[in-house]
């Protein structure tokens, strides 16, 4: 009765016309991006097809261990992505802190969200657990990447300011405060900004998806509001854990600043 339009294969194929147009444009303008565009389109297509089948399998075989395995893979992928995306020499200590913050920040938010806000039953119901975990982990990954970049960059570029503060008798915490606050701020700002435009400038993906699949817009909105708040909480918790512990890696036990250029890759 809802009349959900199932896309036929040819309809799916027709949407690739956008990629064809894009390819024509970059070719005509001499922008050498064809390879990336083709690779990313192919990757997106294959990854989503695989994900679709994996999700069907998971939904048909709801099992706590499988759900836990999925979240573990998600976290591992996200953490690794943070390391790669920052394009900087992070060092072992900082990497450990990133992993710890990601795990504790997202898992705490996830448990709260699923068991107290949505109250799913059984707790491992993959239909809820997996997509919601994906949104919390994905957004926290973006947030912490921004936070890591800002923290590492500014600890380096502003090392004279930090050292001058130490020379004046500041504790490492006080000396790094401005940089830590700045890193936190820039990490959560995109999430806050997206909340401002939500519903007016754009309809968020999850809500759009629910509406397209026949859910009442009211239910879709309820979920969207809850998930946005969950995302903000998860991003904020992950990033605050990271910056609070992360700045300490820039000081040694004598409260001396130890920074090296983050740009050189020497595989530490």
């Amino acid at each position: 009765m809802n009349g959900v339009i199932d896309l036929q294969l040819w309809q799916m194929a027709a949407s690739y016309i956008f990629i064809a147009i894009l390819l024509l444009i970059v070719k005509a303008r001499g922008i050498s991006r064809e390879k990336e565009i083709i690779i990313s389109s192919v990757r997106m297509t294959l990854q989503l097809i695989i994900t679709g089948y994996v999700l069907i399998f998971l939904f048909d075989n709801a099992n706590p261990y499988l759900t836990l395995l999925v979240i573990a893979v998600m976290e591992a992928f996200a953490i690794n992505n943070v390391y790669k995306r920052t394009k900087m020499d992070l060092g072992k200590r900082l990497k450990k802190i990133i992993a710890f913050s990601m795990l504790s920040g997202t898992l705490l938010s996830l448990v709260y969200f699923l068991l107290i806000v949505v109250r799913i039953n059984p707790w491992y119901d993959p239909r809820y657990f997996i997509p919601i975990a994906g949104m919390l982990v994905g957004n926290s990954m973006t947030g912490i990447s921004l936070g890591v970049t800002k923290l590492v960059e500014n600890m380096y570029t502003q090392r004279h300011i930090v050292e001058s503060a130490l020379m004046l008798g500041a504790s490492p915490k006080a000396a790094a405060k401005e940089i830590v606050d700045g890193a936190f701020d820039s990490a959560i700002l995109p999430t806050i900004n997206s909340m401002v435009g939500m519903g007016i400038v754009f309809l968020p993906g999850m809500m759009t998806g629910q509406i397209l699949s026949g859910t009442s817009p009211v239910t879709a909105i309820e979920y969207q509001i809850a998930i946005m708040l969950g995302i903000l909480g998860s991003v904020a918790l992950t990033v605050i854990l990271f910056v609070q512990m992360g700045y300490k890696t820039f000081f040694n036990e004598r409260d001396q600043l130890i920074v090296t250029s983050p740009l050189k890759k020497n595989g530490s």
Binding site: I161, E163, S164, A165, L168, G169, R254
Partner: protein, 215 residues
């Protein structure tokens, strides 16, 4: 003696057999550039640790002391002074904030600015000051903190010769009047000869020798 350095080695920059820096005196550290003067000063502030050897502060090994409290007693002024975003007043007070000392009145701040001949309003944006003014602001900031020991790295490098003499003279007078200890790195032997009680010359990759003892 306030500082005693024994068998200090740092990379291939410093190799000090023994060095003593007296309490309540003005000690100037001179030497060609690259001889490790700044590194030495940083060690006195515990901002850099030596590879080997021992530094005693007031008879106690620095490595057993809390570095933050040491830095609150022996405040260091870097050669390129850091100006924090904010007004002149905020910059003058930030040292007190960092070292968790009680704030002082505007009168005290203006007095410190007068000592370094900085004629600016407390409300001015510190970032808009000239290089020389920033340097004097940083010196005034250290004086506002009123620490026991002042470790100054080329405090007059951005000043013209006349202002340099006036400013150094003020700091020296302040140090003597308040019975503080001052350790000043300077490239200018003239300044050292004129104001120092002790001059220590560091030679590149070599032993340091106390060059002269006055008073």
């Amino acid at each position: 003696m306030l500082y005693i350095l024994k068998k200090i080695k740092f990379k291939d920059i410093l190799d000090i057999e023994e060095m003593k820096i007296p309490k309540g005196k003005i000690t100037c550290i001179v030497g060609e550039s690259g001889s490790g003067k700044t590194t030495l000063l940083r060690m006195l502030n515990d901002l850099t640790s030596s590879d080997s050897g021992e530094i005693l502060y007031d008879g106690k090994p620095i490595k057993n002391m809390d570095s933050v409290s040491l830095r609150r007693n022996a405040v260091m002024l870097p050669q390129t002074p850091a100006i924090f975003s904010g007004t002149v007043r905020e910059n003058l007070l930030i040292g007190l904030k960092f070292s968790q000392k009680p704030m002082v009145s505007d009168e005290e701040l203006l007095k410190a600015m007068e000592l370094v001949k900085l004629t600016k309003s407390l409300e001015d944006d510190a970032d808009l000051l000239s290089g020389g003014e920033k340097q004097r602001l940083a010196i005034a900031r250290v004086m506002v903190m009123d620490p026991e020991v002042l470790l100054l790295d080329e405090p007059s490098s951005a000043l013209d010769e006349e202002t340099e003499r006036i400013v150094i003279n003020s700091i020296v007078e302040y140090t003597r009047k308040n019975k503080k200890t001052m350790v000043m790195v300077t490239h200018s032997k003239k300044i050292a000869l004129e104001f120092a009680d002790e001059i220590i010359e560091i030679k590149k990759k070599n032993l340091t020798i106390p060059e002269r003892s006055l008073k």
